[in-house]
C-alpha cells in the first residue's frame, strides 16, 4: 500500500475486504479524498448495508402511494389535488454528545427532507427515549433535547404537535431522538432528487460550508467507545433562522419552473446529495470545489466534500435558467452558486481550480454499495424471559395506590412539561392538540384533516421483537382511528444496537417481519423510514426500538374526536375484549420491577373489527370520545379519558373473574374505550355487531370521580394535578453534563 495504510482505513471504518473492492472499482489506489468519499457513502448510515436486504420485506405499495421508500421522503395522495409527505429520522448519537444542538439539528435535517420534496412542512413529532431520570446526566440530556427541539421547531414556525417519551435504563448510555415531519404539497408539484438531464446546473444554496461534523456520517454509524471523546469537536450548530429562509426560498424557487431536482445536504453533505441525485438519474456529476462557498479559510477538498454543515441544499437547475433561481435566493439573502453540472458519464468528477482531484463511478458509491447479509441468532434470553408464573407475582390489593403510582411514573405521567415548550399551534392548523391519542391537523382549503402519531413499545420488542413491532403498528393505527382518521401510511425509524452482533441482527429481522405482518394485516404501506444501528455502548445494546410514525386521513375534520370524556351521563363502552394480559406490561415493570412474560397475541380479525367499528362510529357522529387502551391497561386508559379540560370522571363496573391487577392493568391489542350519548347506543351496537366486534357497556361519565366498582375510587382533580406535574417533579435535583 502506498499512502493508504491500515490506520487510515481504520479511521475511515473501511474493512480490508471493502478496501479490496475499492481497488477493483478504481483499478488503482484511491487518494485520501476518494477514500473519504467511499467511507461516508459506504457507511451504514448512508448505504444501509446491513439493513437493505431486510427492508425490502416491508410492504410499500397501495393505490394512494405516490412515492415509496428511496426518496428523501414518502408521499401519499389525500385527494383534492394534494399530497402528504412524511419522513422520520434519528439524531441519536449527536444528541448524546450535545443534547441541545444534537436534537435541534435533527429537527433541521428532517424539515429539509420534507421541503426538498416541494412540500410545506406543517407538523413535527418527536419520539424520545431516555435512561433513568435518577441519573444527573440524564436530566441534563432530557432537558437539553427538549429545549433543542423547541428552539429549532418554534423558530422555524413548524408546530410540534405530538410525540412519545419513554424512560428505561436500556437507554442510559444511548438515548434516542427521532423526529418525524409531515408536509403538504400539490400532487402534481412533487420534487424528487433525480438528476437525469446532462448539462443541467448544480446549484449550491444556503449556508456556507464549515468544518462541521466532518466524519459525522461515520460517527453516527459507529458504536461509542472511549475514542468518541476525541471526536467531540465535531458538534454541529443549527441555525433555524437560516433554515426558515432556506425553506421559503426553496419553495419559491421551485415555483420558477427552472428546478429539475433537489436534495438537502444531510449526512455526508455535498458528497451524498450530489452522488445520490446523479445515481438515481443514471447520470454523473462534475463539481468545481473552488466555487463552493466556505465559512473558513483554507478548507481542503476533503473537508468540503465531507462537511456536514447544516442548512444547505443542492438544486439541479435547467441550463440557462439558473439566474431565475439565483434571484429568489438573493431576495432571501442566501448564497446560491453554480458549482458544477450533471454529466452523462455516470462518474463523480471533482476538480479544484480546473485540476482533476477525484474520479469515482457513481454507481459504486450509490446503488452498488456493499450490502451484507449479516449472521443472525435468536438470543438465548428469550425462551426464559417469555415465560412467567403469575402466581408468583404478589397481588397488591390497593388498586388506587397502584393506579396512582402508575400515572405518576415517568412513562405514564403527562408529557405536558414537554409539549408546552413546543409551539404546537403555529400555523393555525392544529385541531387536536398534543395530549390526546393522535394530533389532528386541518388542511386549509379543504374539509379534510390528517391525524398524526408516533409510537413504539420497546419492552414488547425486547421480549418478542416480531410481535412487539406488530403491536406498535396496531397501536399507531388505533391512535389514528380514535381521532377519526383512516391510516394512510407509515414512516419508521428503526433504532437498534450493533448489527455485527447476530442477536441484534436477529431482533432487527424479526421487528421488520412484525411490521410487515401488521402492515399487511391492517393494509397500511410503509413509505419512508430510517435505520439507526450501533446504539450500543461498551458492548451493551439498547432494547430493539422501532418507532412507527403514522398519518391518517380524516374526511371531515370537524368530526374528529379526542380521548376526553365530554358530557356527564354519556355511556362508556369498551370495544374489544375485556381482559388484558400482564406479560411485558408497564404494570409489571413499574410496580414489580419485572420485565418478562409472553407478549400478548394479536388477532388481526379482532383488531380490524375494533378499528372499523370505532372509525365508522366517529364518521357517523355517534361517538363522543375514543381512547386507545394500551400501556397501563384499562384503569390507566380510563383515568386518561378523565384528564381533559372539563375534568369529567367515570363510574365503571367490570364483570370479570380473575385477578384484579390483570383486569385493571393488563395490556393487549384491540381495545378502545369510547363514550356515546344514550340515544346513539343502539346504532353503535349495530355497527359493532356487523363487524363482529365485542362491545361492552362498562359505565357512565360522571363529574369529578373515577370509580371502578369493587376496586378503586379517586377524585379526578388532585389525580390530574399530580399526573400533570410528576414529570417536572422528577427533573428536580442535580444536573450534570
Amino acid at each position: 500500500m502506498g499512502n493508504i495504510n491500515k490506520k487510515i482505513l481504520d479511521e475511515h471504518n473501511i474493512t480490508s475486504s471493502e478496501y479490496k473492492r475499492i481497488l477493483k472499482i478504481l483499478g488503482r489506489e484511491p487518494n485520501l479524498l476518494e477514500l473519504g468519499i467511499f467511507s461516508v457513502m459506504w457507511s451504514e448510515h448512508c448505504s444501509y448495508k446491513s439493513s437493505r436486504i431486510h427492508l425490502k420485506r416491508l410492504p410499500t405499495k397501495a393505490p394512494h402511494v405516490i412515492q415509496g421508500p428511496g426518496e428523501n421522503a414518502g408521499v401519499v395522495d389525500i385527494g383534492d389535488g394534494l399530497a402528504v409527505v412524511l419522513k422520520m429520522e434519528s439524531h441519536n448519537h449527536p444528541s448524546f454528545i450535545e443534547p441541545f444542538q444534537g436534537a435541534a439539528t435533527g429537527v433541521g435535517g428532517i424539515l429539509r427532507d420534507i421541503f426538498t420534496m416541494g412540500a410545506r412542512p406543517i407538523a413535527l413529532l418527536d419520539s424520545l427515549k431516555f435512561g433513568s431520570l435518577n441519573e444527573p446526566r440524564m436530566k441534563y440530556l432530557f432537558e437539553g433535547v427538549v429545549s433543542g427541539i423547541s428552539w429549532y421547531g418554534n423558530c422555524i414556525g413548524v408546530p410540534t404537535v405530538g410525540g412519545e417519551t419513554y424512560f428505561h435504563p436500556s437507554y442510559n448510555r444511548n438515548i434516542l431522538v427521532n423526529v418525524m415531519c409531515v408536509g403538504v404539497a400539490k400532487k402534481e408539484r412533487i420534487f424528487r432528487g433525480i438528476a437525469n438531464k446532462p448539462g443541467s446546473i448544480v446549484l449550491y444554496v444556503g449556508s456556507k460550508t464549515g468544518r462541521d461534523g466532518i466524519h459525522g456520517a461515520t460517527m453516527a454509524s459507529d458504536a461509542f467507545d472511549e475514542k468518541s471523546e476525541e471526536r467531540r469537536p465535531t458538534v454541529q450548530v443549527g441555525d433555524p433562522f437560516t433554515e426558515k429562509l432556506l425553506l421559503e426560498a426553496s419553495l419559491e424557487a421551485m415555483n420558477t419552473g427552472a428546478v429539475l431536482a433537489v436534495q438537502d445536504m444531510g449526512a455526508a453533505g455535498l458528497t451524498s446529495s450530489s452522488c445520490e441525485m446523479a445515481g438515481r438519474g443514471g447520470c454523473g456529476v462534475e463539481l468545481e470545489l473552488s466555487l463552493v462557498p466556505c465559512r473558513e479559510e483554507g478548507m481542503t477538498p476533503y473537508e468540503i466534500m465531507l462537511s456536514e454543515s447544516q442548512e444547505r441544499m443542492l438544486f439541479i437547475v435547467e441550463e440557462g435558467k439558473e439566474e431565475r433561481v439565483k434571484e429568489v435566493f438573493k431576495k432571501w439573502d442566501l448564497d446560491a452558486v453554480a458549482i458544477g453540472k450533471v454529466t452523462s458519464d455516470k462518474m463523480l468528477k471533482l476538480k479544484l481550480h480546473g485540476e482533476n482531484i477525484a474520479t469515482i463511478p457513481i454507481d459504486a458509491i450509490t446503488k452498488d454499495a456493499p450490502t451484507y447479509r449479516r449472521p443472525i441468532k435468536r438470543p438465548q434470553r428469550l425462551s426464559e424471559l417469555q415465560d412467567i408464573d403469575i402466581s408468583e407475582i404478589p397481588e397488591i390489593r390497593d388498586y388506587g395506590d397502584i393506579l396512582y403510582r402508575l400515572i405518576t411514573s415517568p412513562n405514564l405521567s403527562s408529557k405536558r412539561w414537554i409539549y408546552t415548550q413546543y409551539d404546537h399551534m403555529v400555523g393555525t392548523n392544529t385541531v387536536i392538540l398534543p395530549g390526546s391519542d393522535a394530533a389532528v391537523m386541518r388542511i386549509k382549503g379543504t374539509k379534510k384533516g390528517i391525524a398524526l402519531t408516533v409510537d413504539s413499545n420497546s419492552r414488547y420488542c425486547y421480549l418478542n421483537p416480531r410481535r412487539g413491532a406488530a403491536h406498535t403498528v396496531c397501536e399507531g393505527s388505533r391512535n389514528i382511528i380514535c381521532s377519526g382518521g383512516k391510516p394512510l401510511a407509515i414512516t419508521d425509524c428503526l433504532n437498534f444496537g450493533n448489527p455485527e452482533n447476530p442477536e441484534v441482527m436477529w431482533e432487527f429481522r424479526e421487528c421488520i417481519e412484525g411490521i410487515r405482518e401488521a402492515c399487511i394485516g391492517l393494509k397500511i404501506p410503509v413509505v419512508s423510514g430510517n435505520v439507526s444501528f450501533y446504539n450500543e455502548t461498551s458492548g451493551v445494546s439498547i432494547y430493539p426500538s422501532p418507532a412507527i410514525g403514522m398519518v391518517g386521513l380524516i374526511e371531515d375534520v370537524s368530526a374528529s374526536r379526542n380521548q376526553f370524556f365530554r358530557r356527564e351521563g354519556d355511556l362508556i363502552l369498551l370495544l374489544g375484549p375485556m381482559s388484558g394480559e400482564i406479560g411485558g406490561s408497564e404494570y409489571l415493570f413499574a410496580i414489580h420491577s419485572i420485565e418478562r412474560g409472553p407478549v400478548p397475541e394479536i388477532d388481526y380479525r379482532m383488531e380490524k373489527a375494533v378499528q372499523s367499528t370505532c372509525l365508522e362510529g366517529i364518521r357517523k357522529g355517534l361517538i363522543e370520545s375514543a381512547h386507545d387502551c394500551s400501556e397501563g391497561g384499562l384503569a390507566v386508559a380510563l383515568a386518561e379519558c378523565c384528564f381533559g379540560e372539563e375534568e369529567m370522571g367515570a363510574e365503571v363496573e367490570l364483570n370479570y373473574e380473575g385477578r384484579g391487577d390483570m383486569l385493571l392493568f393488563g395490556e393487549g391489542a384491540s381495545r378502545i374505550i369510547i363514550s356515546v350519548r344514550d340515544m346513539n347506543y343502539h346504532m353503535i351496537k349495530r355497527i359493532a355487531e356487523k363487524n363482529r366486534c365485542p362491545i361492552i357497556p362498562i359505565g357512565r361519565v360522571i363529574k369529578g370521580f373515577l370509580r371502578i366498582k369493587g376496586f378503586l375510587e379517586m377524585e379526578i382533580g388532585p389525580l390530574k394535578r399530580v399526573w400533570g406535574r410528576s414529570l417536572e417533579d422528577s427533573l428536580k435535583g442535580i444536573y450534570e453534563r
Binding site: 429545549s147 441555525d239 409551539d423 399551534m425
Partner: protein, 237 residues
C-alpha cells in the same frame, strides 16, 4: 378596510394573520416585505409573531432597525392602526413605539398554552367591541414575554389606562398563578398614548375560528374594523 401584514425574515405567524383577515374577517389584506417602505395604502398594519432574525441579539431588535420601521413610525404619527403580536410586540418595543422591555420568561422556558386575559380598557380601536373586564381565552407562545418597565413607566401605563390586557384566571382574577411569564402587574398587552399602536403577547389569530377552540381573538380584529368604519364615516362627513 385594508390590512398589511409585514413579513420580516423569520416571521412565522404572517400567514396565520393573513388567513384570518382574509377568510374569517373577510377584509382586504396584503403581505408587505420588510424591505418595502410604502405604507400609505393601508389602514392597519399587523406585525406578526415569529422569530424575526431568529431572535438573535434580542427578540425584535434586529427587525426594529429595518427601513420599514421608519415608515411605521410615520404611519403611526398619522394615526394608522398598528397591531404587534408576540414578536411583533417585541419589535414595537425595540423600535421604541411602545415603552418598556420584554424579558425572558421567568421559567426560562418557551411556553405554548392557552391563557386567560382580562380586557382592561375597552375604549381602544382594538377592543371597542369587547366589554370592559371580559375574560378572553387566547394562546401564548413565546420565550421572552415578561413585560418589564421602570416603576415610573408602569405607573404611567396604569394611571393612563394604557394596559389593555392582563393575564388572569378563568374568572378574571389577577393572581400570581395566572401570570405565565412573570410580567409586571400581569401585563399582557399595552397601547400607545395616542391609542393607535397595540402590542400584545397572546395570539388573537390563533383563536379566531370555532375549530381552533376559541373565537375570542377575532373580537380584536373586528374591533379594528369597527373603529375604522366609524372613523371613515367621520372623515367623509
Amino acid at each position: 378596510m385594508k390590512f398589511g401584514v409585514i413579513v420580516f425574515p423569520g416571521s412565522n405567524c404572517d400567514h396565520d394573520c393573513y388567513y384570518v383577515i382574509k377568510n374569517v374577517l373577510k377584509q382586504e389584506v396584503e403581505f408587505i416585505w420588510f424591505r418595502e417602505e410604502r405604507l400609505e395604502d393601508f389602514d392597519a398594519i399587523i406585525l406578526p409573531g415569529g422569530f424575526s432574525y431568529g431572535d438573535y441579539l434580542r427578540p425584535g431588535a434586529i427587525a426594529s432597525y429595518s427601513p420599514i420601521v421608519k415608515s411605521l413610525r410615520r404611519f403611526s404619527e398619522n394615526g394608522g392602526l398598528i397591531l404587534g403580536i408576540c414578536n411583533g410586540f417585541q419589535i414595537l418595543i425595540e423600535a421604541g413605539l411602545l415603552p418598556g422591555a420584554l424579558l425572558r420568561n421567568r421559567s426560562l422556558k418557551f411556553i405554548c398554552k392557552k391563557v386567560y386575559i382580562r380586557v382592561e380598557n375597552s375604549k381602544t380601536p382594538f377592543t371597542n367591541l369587547i366589554t370592559h373586564g371580559r375574560v378572553l381565552s387566547l394562546p401564548i407562545a413565546h420565550a421572552h414575554g415578561c413585560y418589564y418597565a421602570d416603576s415610573k413607566t408602569i405607573e404611567k401605563l396604569e394611571s393612563e389606562g394604557l394596559v389593555v390586557f392582563r393575564y388572569c384566571g378563568s374568572n378574571g382574577e389577577i393572581t400570581e398563578e395566572s401570570n405565565p411569564n412573570g410580567s409586571w402587574n400581569n401585563i399582557a398587552g399595552i397601547i400607545s398614548r395616542n391609542g393607535n399602536v397595540l402590542g400584545m403577547m397572546p395570539h388573537p389569530e390563533r383563536a379566531a375560528e370555532d375549530i381552533m377552540g376559541s373565537c375570542d381573538g377575532i373580537l380584536i380584529f373586528e374591533s379594528m374594523v369597527n373603529h375604522h368604519g366609524k372613523h371613515k364615516q367621520k372623515n367623509t362627513r
